[in-house]
């Protein structure tokens, strides 16, 4: 039951509800492909508060709300408005919740979404907090995997790249570990998955650190690739070295299972070469597209009947 619920982290959503989100997302996907009009959120208002720039997440949330027949109010540039005048998140949220039925917030500080949910009188969806959680990205990642395999059980998932600062992998590993999956982690030592994430896992023994991509290339069903940010490196030579061993080109991809898929939260830079885009295993654009359907399902379940 997601009715009236806050979605701060993926732990707020049960496995049962995850599958309900998938069902609804598939339903909306089908309806939209037939250009059916949907009016379930008619008269409802969503506030989007992005205290940190984001194109994809914001557009996808706003598109989802409009597609459901609802409307969106937003602050074009929170940096130039209340926040920079020193207004607290708590006060901004109190105000926004009196104007709308649901709030989507992204904030550069960890824990900001939890705090917002405590001061809001309407449901809050976390659109990413610092290097913390990004639960709706996780839902669309999961949905994309589920669409392909129809299950999570028995899958081998490899997460590669920046596993330390990449918040999408922090949420995703928690969710996947709730199912019977094997997860391999491949990252430079300085960008490993933090202990405070590993320590939250129900089945940490199903998570294996791998030294290189080669080890897992022909056994993984899903490759979840994240961006390694140049800014994380003092020496650009180190960056060049690292990017070399964690990037995907046509040769890497040809060593994978035929049925494998490659996901990436986007935007990608050097991690996946554009020549991979036409390979049937490249699934990242489809994944981004799924963001709208999954968010439609989530909004509809929180504000609607179910």
């Amino acid at each position: 039951m997601l009715k009236k619920k806050d979605i701060v982290n993926i732990g707020d959503i049960s496995n049962e509800d995850i599958f309900k989100v998938f069902e609804n997302a598939s339903k909306f996907k089908k309806k939209l492909s037939k250009e059916e009009k949907i009016k379930t959120m008619d008269g409802k208002i969503m506030t989007t508060l992005f205290f940190e720039p984001s194109t994809r997440t914001r557009l996808s949330f706003e598109s989802a709300m409009h597609r459901l027949g609802g409307s969106v109010i937003t602050v074009s540039e929170p940096k130039s408005s209340s926040a920079s005048k020193g207004e607290t998140v708590a006060d901004t949220i109190r105000m926004a919740s009196s104007y709308s039925d649901i709030i989507v917030m992204r904030h550069p500080m960890e824990g900001a979404a939890r705090l917002a949910s405590e001061f809001s009188s309407v449901p809050v969806i976390n659109g990413g907090d610092g290097s913390g959680q990004h639960p709706t990205q996780t839902l669309l990642d999961l949905f994309t995997i589920w669409e392909k395999f129809g299950t999570f059980n028995g899958l081998h998932i490899t997460m590669a790249g920046d596993l330390k600062y990449g918040r999408t992998v922090h949420s995703l590993i928690r969710a996947l570990n709730r199912f019977d999956t094997t997860i391999s982690l491949v990252s430079p030592e300085s960008l490993e998955m933090p202990d405070h994430i590993i320590s939250t896992l129900k089945n940490p023994e199903k998570v294996i650190k791998s030294k290189s991509l080669d080890e897992v290339l022909n056994s993984s069903d899903v490759f979840y690739v994240t961006r390694i940010q140049k800014e994380r490196f003092v020496d650009l030579n180190d960056y060049a070295k690292v990017i070399g061993s964690y990037s995907f080109d046509i040769d890497t991809v040809s060593a994978m299972k035929e049925t494998a898929i490659i996901l990436h939260p986007l935007p990608r830079v050097d991690e996946i070469s554009p020549e991979v885009d036409n390979d049937p295993r490249a699934t990242y654009f489809k994944q981004a597209e799924n963001g709208v359907f999954v968010r439609m399902a989530l909004i509809d379940m929180i504000l609607g009947g179910e």
């Binding site: 708590a90 960890e110 900001a112 202990d195 405070h196 320590s199 939250t200």
Partner: protein
């Protein structure tokens, strides 16, 4: 030296005796209770006293002082084995061990500088105890990062 004898060194009329403090931690106990020379309390402090079992301990006695829940929590985090004796009219009225709280409100400062509790927001910190094998951790309710007992001790005695 027996416990009885320790207590006799400077028997107090009314107040508290914090006994079995980890050796060397007496000053930290006073520090988390915000007791310094200026607070007006009559305080006696014993460091590295030999116990009957041959171990060492520190003892702190504070006259005319009551302990609130928050102060007991603070003591437990500095010295989890400490015992509290409440003295009235030279008699020990009550004696108990401190215990580490499952949930800690408004005591621990989150060491994650990017945690929202370190911004100017109207919230108090909340940490919840987690046991991982024999390791004890406290997790921040907001940013969900964890702190070890050593990190907590450092942060509250600063």
């Amino acid at each position: 030296m027996s416990e009885e004898k320790t207590l006799k060194i400077s028997k107090i009329e009314d107040g508290i005796v914090i006994d079995h403090i980890n050796p060397g931690s007496a000053m930290e106990v006073l520090s988390v209770l915000k007791i310094n020379g200026k607070s007006g309390f009559t305080v006696s402090l014993l460091m590295n006293v030999r116990t009957s079992k041959g171990n060492s301990k520190d003892v702190v006695k504070i006259e005319k002082k009551n302990l609130r829940k928050k102060e007991l929590d603070l003591i437990s985090m500095v010295s989890p084995n400490a015992t509290i004796n409440i003295v009235e009219n030279f008699v020990i009225k009550e004696k108990f061990n401190v215990s580490l709280p499952e949930t800690v409100h408004d005591i621990i400062r989150c060491q994650n500088q990017n945690c929202v509790t370190n911004a100017k927001e109207p919230v108090k910190t909340v940490f919840t105890m987690e046991k991982k094998g024999d390791k004890l951790l406290y997790r921040c309710h907001y940013c969900e990062r964890t702190m070890t007992m050593d990190e907590i001790r450092n942060s509250i005695t600063k």
